[in-house]
């Protein structure tokens, strides 16, 4: 309990620091007045608009007002859409989360078996192909992969649509494009694109984990007990290599959401990433700030979740440390 509270306090502090940094950065440089206000406008109109947006007040006042509003969930209105910035982000969040989730599933479901195979049969042709593929996955820049995926699977073969999100289905109150065939077709390419880098990473982790664990005495003992090979691999080995992989998955979920910026822009996926890129280009300050704060919060929550998951998988780790 003490542990959880300490972690939460740290998280709040971190969020405060980040809000200050982001706000300062954006306050210090970009000047939205020039973009927002019609250059033809009269001086009086300009002054009125600036006052209306609160841009004439001293810096610290602006920050305090901003902070007060943020605590009430008010990040200000988007300069471009003239709607609450937080609302804009939240309504695009499901699309991004769904994409990141699909990518993680692909990376784990494909990566663990491939990595374990490479670890169990090192030197075999299949395992070398897997490793060469994972090195390539690391090296090919994400955005170019996306273009190649579109070129090959959407344009040349025509198996998947080029862009967009497709139909959204509802299942137990959760709305997602994972529940319709059309939605799945649309999400396939972007999810694969987002997954490839992590797939390569999961493969490497699973492989090195397998190589390390399979040499352990308890695997030999399990074989001495006469267990089936399948049980040794699927229970004894898998449970032991899962720990670093869960860490990676947890840690990288945030990274995936950040990297979704690239994937979403190319596949025109209507998520937070595409919104942030558009907002940066249009100097839509409130949306950028809100996005960053939301991302920081997501990161903090994810780190907490990973720590909790750890203790479930590895009995040797107990959160309080005092017990046991």
């Amino acid at each position: 309990m003490v542990y959880v509270i300490r972690r939460l306090l740290q998280a709040v502090f971190l969020a405060l620091v980040m809000s200050f940094l982001v706000f300062t950065g954006i306050f210090a440089v970009g000047n939205p007045v020039d973009i927002l206000i019609d250059p033809e406008a009269t001086q009086a109109e300009r002054v009125r608009l600036i006052a209306q947006l609160g841009l004439d007040r001293p810096f610290h006042e602006q920050y305090l007002i901003f902070l007060g509003n943020v605590l009430q969930g008010d990040f200000g209105n988007s300069f471009v859409y003239n709607r609450p910035a937080l609302g804009l982000i939240l309504e695009r969040m499901p699309a991004t989360l769904e994409l990141a989730f699909a990518a993680i599933v692909i990376a784990v479901v494909l990566g663990i078996p491939l990595g374990m195979y490479a670890g169990l049969r090192p030197g075999s042709a299949g395992s070398q192909a897997v490793m060469a593929g994972s090195i390539l996955g690391f090296s090919v820049p994400n955005f170019w992969q996306a273009i190649m995926l579109i070129m090959i699977f959407a344009v040349m073969l025509g198996w998947f649509p080029v862009s967009g999100r497709g139909q959204v289905g509802e299942f137990f109150g959760v709305r997602s494009s994972l529940f319709t065939l059309n939605g799945l077709q649309h999400i396939a390419l972007p999810a694969i694109n987002l997954a490839i880098g992590h797939l390569a990473l999961v493969i490497r982790l699973a492989r090195s984990g397998t190589q390390e664990v399979k040499a352990q005495d308890f695997i030999r003992f399990a074989r001495a007990k006469g267990l089936h090979e399948s049980r040794i691999v699927l229970v004894h080995l898998l449970r032991n290599i899962l720990i670093p992989i869960v860490t990676l998955v947890g840690m990288s979920f945030g990274g995936l959401i950040a990297f979704a910026v690239v994937t979403e822009s190319i596949f025109a996926w209507p998520g937070m990433g595409k919104l942030i890129i558009d907002s940066i280009r249009q100097l839509d300050r409130p949306v950028v700030v809100a996005y960053l704060i939301v991302i920081v919060v997501i990161f903090i929550i994810l780190n907490l979740l990973v720590d909790l998951l750890y203790s479930l998988i590895d009995p040797r780790i107990r959160l309080d440390g005092a017990k046991q």
Binding site: G30, S139, P141, F143, I147
Partner: protein, 307 residues
């Protein structure tokens, strides 16, 4: 018995003169054909990029040499002006081969400048943190941890959101993204080196702290940092290409590979693949070559692997 042993040890032909480490590194490096291939590829790419103005058939940014009649020619076709375009042309009739070499030039330059600056900053801060320890160490490392807990692309996006597009801005953003990685590595190596005898010896000789830091500690921390440096150049180039592709990096007047790929993206849908594919292959080759060399350097410089 013992006498012969001593005389044998003292005779010069029994103990060969120690090999200089540089030669050992070069000798070990050559043992991997894959790494040699990477190195050769890298040399060719760098030479081509460096010599681009002299070896390309046209200057892709001299508008007078472009002919709109040549636009979107497929690879191998001969243009209106009589030049054959081996890699095709883009929407403005620009020779892709020339454009790629000029793009490589910009990509390499950005990566090199940003990484070198990040290396210098990170190295200095890391060494200072490790050498002085205490509060300075805490402050620097807290900053590094905070920094590294966010994905690089996010940090770069924020900075470019604030600063806007531009060559200086993207270099600055890349430096900010990368210094922390170098600082952490420098601190870790310096910490393990600080306990060695030669540092104590230098201290007891009364050498100045700057002298110990940069004259003694620094050279011993360099090998692992050089490995990191090569690999980070690759990731800087990839990140710059990504940001330029997204339209928040380099301006259209400085077309790096990322921008070339972005320009070609619209044509991919209509089947004119070469405008996007060839710059991408160039980028891929560059990154793979750097990573192959870096991987091998890591093996060769790792003191545990010395045979």
């Amino acid at each position: 018995m013992s006498e012969t042993a001593i005389s044998a040890a003292a005779s010069p032909d029994v103990t060969p003169p120690p090999e200089r480490p540089v030669w050992r590194i070069i000798r070990d490096f050559r043992k991997s054909p894959l790494a040699l291939f990477g190195l050769a590829l890298l040399v060719v790419i760098i030479a081509a990029a460096f010599l681009a103005p002299w070896i390309t058939p046209q200057n892709p940014y001299d508008l007078r040499s472009l002919n709109i009649m040549d636009s979107r020619l497929a690879p191998g076709e001969v243009g209106f002006s009589g030049i054959s375009f081996w890699l095709g042309t883009d929407g403005q009739g620009r020779d892709m081969f020339s454009a790629i070499l000029f793009g490589l030039r910009i990509s390499l330059m950005v990566g090199l400048i940003a990484c070198t600056a990040a290396l210098i900053i990170g190295l200095t801060l890391g060494l200072i943190a490790a050498y002085f320890g205490g509060r300075i160490d805490t402050i620097v490392m807290r900053l590094v941890d905070l920094h590294l807990s966010f994905p690089p692309i996010l940090v770069a996006l924020i900075l470019l959101a604030i600063l806007g597009r531009g060559l200086e801005n993207i270099i600055f953003a890349l430096i900010i993204v990368q210094w922390a990685t170098f600082a952490r590595m420098a601190r870790a190596t310096a910490l393990s080196e600080r306990g060695r005898e030669y540092v104590e010896a230098a201290q007891s000789l009364g050498l100045s702290q700057t002298r110990i830091l940069f004259g003694h500690l620094l050279p011993n921390c360099l090998p692992p940092l050089m490995v990191l440096y090569t690999v980070e150049i690759a990731s800087a180039i990839a990140l710059e290409a990504t940001l330029s592709f997204l339209g928040v990096g380099l301006p259209a007047t400085q077309p790096s590979l990322g921008l070339l790929i972005a320009n070609g993206f619209q044509f991919v849908l209509s089947g004119q693949y070469w405008i996007s594919v060839f710059p991408g292959i160039a980028l891929l080759l560059l990154i793979v070559a750097i990573n192959l060399v870096g991987d091998r350097l890591r093996d060769v410089l790792n003191p545990r692997n010395i045979t």
